[in-house]
Symmetry: C2
Subunit: 316 residues, 2 copies
Amino acid sequence: MKDIPTFAEVIEASERIRPFANRTPVFKSKWYDQQIGAELFFKCENFQKVGAFKFRGACNAVLTLSEKEGNRGIVTHSSGNHAQAVALAARTKGYQATIIMPKNAPSVKVRAVKEYGAKILFCEPTIDARKEMTYQFIDDTNAHFIHPYNHPMVIAGQGTVAKEFLEEIPDLDIIIAPVGGGGLISGTCISAKKIKPSIQVIGSEPELADDAYRSLKEGTIQPVLRTDTIADGLRTSLGDVTFKIMKENLDDLVTVSEKSIIREMRSVWERMKIIIESSSAVPVAACMDEKFEVKGKKIGIILTGGNVDLDKLPWM
Amino acid sequence: MKDIPTFAEVIEASERIRPFANRTPVFKSKWYDQQIGAELFFKCENFQKVGAFKFRGACNAVLTLSEKEGNRGIVTHSSGNHAQAVALAARTKGYQATIIMPKNAPSVKVRAVKEYGAKILFCEPTIDARKEMTYQFIDDTNAHFIHPYNHPMVIAGQGTVAKEFLEEIPDLDIIIAPVGGGGLISGTCISAKKIKPSIQVIGSEPELADDAYRSLKEGTIQPVLRTDTIADGLRTSLGDVTFKIMKENLDDLVTVSEKSIIREMRSVWERMKIIIESSSAVPVAACMDEKFEVKGKKIGIILTGGNVDLDKLPWM
C-alpha cells in the first residue's frame, strides 16, 4: 500500500497549487438555513479550475514530479473530471498527458480534454480494458500514472479543500462530502481532524452506490454493485489508501435516495443560482433528509463540481 | 416628471439597504477573457435577494417611506422580479404589499410572491388592465405605488450596483447593463459617471425589443413593438425619468440577436457555473459579438438576475 499523506503534506500541497488553483468561495443560503434549522456553509468547488475539486489533487501530483519524471509523460484513465484535471495540470508544466477514455465517452468530455492539450487513447468501455491499456502504456513509455484517488499526493491535494474551509469558517461542527473513490473524504479527514480534532467528518453516497457504507461495515473494501446512480462521479469503489484513512477517521457515512439527490440538485440551482453536478447534491440531500443530527449545527458542505450536460437534466 | 435622483441619493440608498440587500460578488472568467481579448468583470446580481437587482430599488423605495405612509400599504403591478422584490422589501418593514398580477402569470411566480407574504390581485392579462386595477387600488386604499423603474428612489437603489462595482474594480473602462424600463441603466449612469467621469456606460437590449435604441434615435420615447424576445425582463418601454437620464448620460446603446442571447446564457452556465436569466445574457452577447470596441478594455457586465424556469430552458 502507498503511504498515507500527512497534514504537513496537505500544507505543502496548498502552497504548491496556490498559483494554479482557485481559492473557491464559501456561500451561504438563508433559505436552506431556514428549511433545515441549521447553519449551512457551501464550499464551491464547482468554481474550481476544470469545474471540480479534482484539479487540486491532479495539480499537486503533477507538481511533485521532478522535471525528468514529468518529461516522460503523465497518464491516467478517466472519463470524468479527473481526466480534465490531469490534462490541465500537465499543461501548466508543459508535460504531455495521455488520457485513456472509453470509446463511448460523451463527446463533450472528449472535447474538453482535448482543449487542455492532452492526447486521448480510446479503449473498450470496461474497467478491465481501461486498466489494461493504462498499464500497457506505462510499460511502453514509462509515463507517470496519476490514480484518480488512491494516490497520496492526490489525497493531499484534495485535503486543501477542508483546510481552506476551516480557515474561513473555523467553528464548523461538521464537514460533509460525497464519497466516490474516497480521495476527497480522505483528504478532508486528514485536514479537518488535525485542524479541529472535535469536528465530525461525514461521508455521503447514493443508496445505489453504497459500496463505502458496506465496506466500512464489513471491514473490507466492497465493490460497487450497480452503476446506475444519477451521481455519475460516485460510481467508484474505494482504494486501499482511502479505505484505511476513512476507517480510522470517518465519524459517519450516510446514504441518500436518487429522488433526494435530484430534488436537492434542482433546489441548489433554483435557490442559490449556482450550477452543481448531481454528485454535489448528495451531501445536501443527506442534510435535508436529516441522515444525521443537524439541528443547530454549523455544517460545511463540499460542493464538489459543476460539470453538467445542459441538454440532459435529471428532472426533465 | 418626477425628480432625477442624485449621486448623493445613491449613497444614501446604499447605506439604507445595506442591512437587507446582499453586497454581491464580482466574478471573473479566464475563458471569456481569452475568447474576447478583453478583461471582463461580472457583477453577480443573480445572487441578490429574490435573485435579481430589483430588490435594491424596491427596498430603497420602501425604506424611504415614513411609517405612516408604509402602514397605508404598498402596491405595484408586475409579474416578474419586481413583484418579488416589492413583496420582500415590504416584509422587512412589516408593511402590507399588494401585487397586481395578470391572471395567466406562471404559478411559480405567484407562489414566490405569496411566500414573501404579499397579497395578490389578479387582473386581465393586458397592460391597460394592470394599470387600471392598480390606480383603482390606490384610489381605494391610498397605498403607495412603487413603479418598477420610473421612480427616483428605485433608480437610486439600482445605482448602488455600479457604486459597489467601481468600489471593487475602480479601473473599469466600460460598464454595460441590459435595458428594459431603464431603471438599472439610469442608476448606473448616475453612479458611474460621478465616480469615474471617463467611464463609458453602454446599454444593451434585444433586437426584438429595441425600443430604447429607437427612443434615443428619435428623441422621444418609443413603444416596444413586439413582446416575443426570450429576454422577458426587457419587454418594457422607458419612462420619462429614465429616458431623460439615458439621453443625457448614455454613451452607446447596442442591440443583440435572440440567437446570441441564448448562446451566451448557456455559455455562462457552462463556463462560469452560475445561473443567469436570459436578460442577463444580453450584455454578455453584446461583448462577444463586439457590438462596441472591446479589445484590451476592462469591461464591467451587470448580470441582472438568475430567476429561470428550469423546466423550460431556451436551448431545449
